[in-house]
């Protein structure tokens, strides 16, 4: 095991223009494993032409959309909490500026499972709908058993996956804490998305000793060999919450939603929250002061 600690600015160098970005798992309030610290840094560094793979594309994908980082989004839903389609995504998809790779819960899950298991694809029978033409990465083929048409749901293998966890050691062994117990969607998707990815950026509320990890091995959700960069970023899920650390910041989420309604106001938001703070610590000081 190697020490993988670095800064968020360094870590995000792993994300190249044109690459695919896996969001570990959807937010299920009051819990999220979404690394907003990494998302903000990606926007700050002005990455381009990314494809985000996010089961439920929400604030994180919307921020990247509004910052001009995205070419496409692969999702089973894109919604902003209970407020409908995320504003930037809605506006930009309706303008034809972002490609929608909509699919279903089952195909998304099987794709992530295939990626996490290390197999090429998982075959799905009887899959008929309008998602198919929007997934050039999929293939249809005859079953080797009965010749009926099957869909090869291609393994999801993001170039980089992002995750924010409560606790990790410097090697990247990470524990989800309470989030693992209640957010059962996260429990499946997060470890599989992390395993599936070629590179993983992990941000964490706390860096703990490896000996602490070994006191409760049954809590470990991610192992060091699947992680490439470990960044200590307290508050790194904000405005999402992290159970046991902080609640979702509902006021900020509303402010975001209002700002994202038009491109000009959103540029203001980006200036204030993405470009002005020098790092996750400065961002935290800013939102704590509000």
């Amino acid at each position: 095991m190697r020490d993988k600690r670095t800064t968020i600015a360094e870590a995000v160098q792993l994300v190249e223009d044109g690459s695919t970005l896996g969001i570990a798992s959807p937010a299920v309030q009051p819990e999220a494993l979404i690394s907003m610290a990494a998302v903000r840094e990606i926007a700050r560094q002005g990455k381009r032409d990314l494809t985000v793979i996010s089961a439920m594309a929400e604030l994180e994908s919307d921020l990247l959309a509004g910052a001009g980082c995205l070419r496409a989004i692969q999702f089973w839903a894109c919604r902003f909490f209970d407020l409908g389609t995320p504003p930037n995504i809605r506006r930009m998809m309706q303008a034809g500026e972002i490609i929608a790779r909509e699919e279903s819960e089952f195909s998304f899950t099987l794709g992530v499972l295939a990626g996490g298991m290390g197999v090429e694809f998982i075959p799905l029978h009887g899959y008929f709908n309008d998602h198919l033409p929007h997934h050039p990465e999929w293939r249809t083929f005859p079953s080797p058993f009965d010749g009926k048409q099957l869909l090869a749901v291609t393994a999801v293998v993001p170039d980089v996956a992002l995750i924010h966890v409560p606790r990790a050691d410097k090697f990247g062994n990470a524990q989800f804490g309470e989030t693992n117990r209640h957010n059962t969607a996260a429990r499946f998707l997060a470890p599989h998305m992390v395993r599936a990815a070629k590179r993983v950026i992990l941000t964490t509320e706390e860096i703990i000793d490896n000996a602490e990890i070994r006191k409760t091995p049954e809590e470990t959700g991610i192992l060091y060999h699947d992680v490439d960069a470990v960044v200590h970023a307290p508050g790194g899920a904000h405005p999402h919450g992290v159970v046991g650390y902080y609640e979702p910041d509902e006021a900020h989420i509303k402010r975001y939603h209002a700002a994202a309604q038009d491109a000009e106001r959103f540029r203001e938001y980006l200036r204030a929250y993405v470009h002005a703070p020098a790092d996750p610590g400065a961002y935290r000081a800013l939102v704590d002061a509000e």
Partner: protein, 264 residues
Amino acid sequence: MPDASTDYTVDELIVSLIARDIRDHELVQQGGGTLLGTVAVLLARRTHAPNLTYNYLTSMDPIVTSVGNPADSPHVVSRTALAPFDIADIVNMCLRGKTDVFSTMPAQIDRYGNVNASLIGDDQQRPKVRFPGGLGITDWTLYAGRVNVYVPKHTRRVFVEKVDYVTGMGHFPGGFAERVRRGVPGRGPRKVFSNLAVMGFDAETGRMRLDSLHAGVRLEDVQANTGFDLLLPADIPQTEPPTVEEVDLIRNEIDPKGLRKHRF
């Protein structure tokens, strides 16, 4: 016979219709976006289907008796469930044919029961309106035993000749047998409950058929608000109203805050 209610709203009627389609001992899949569906499940359990179970978001069969209280939130009730349930559990349960029935409220539905929860417009990559998308609608229309659809406002904007995006697959021209022939395990859309009428599907052609009209609704009202020709039975009965007991349970015990009325 239980007393038929004479004092009910159309949302209460639809709750009753969805509930009555659930048989005892069935396993119901209930999404998070459709609270009316949850009210129907809870009603069925309180009336004719005490042994049903249901998958409520992230847990299997939690003990829920009403909607709209913090104590009924998925996180809290999951502590009374049979088991926590993750997305892989949901997938494998359904692909193995264990999930009996699901209900959904799409933006559009066409004559074959194809449903659209994705977008409006001719160009799927430059739509007029982008919706949040289908979540599991695609999957339950293909892999659950059957699906019921409800529509709060029966208009030509909802009942369209052809949906702009097939989020959930309906029937094939060629009828119910065509699903079997193509290896689709689920039986697909069974009933459509709107604020005007109940519709089913014709086994031979897969086309939507009028089953009954709600009290006070005329055939012309339905036809004028449907963007395609409905098949018509020889006799068109009136929709069975909810019972006094059902309305009382819905209104006073299960959903006193009226959350079922969203979009009605």
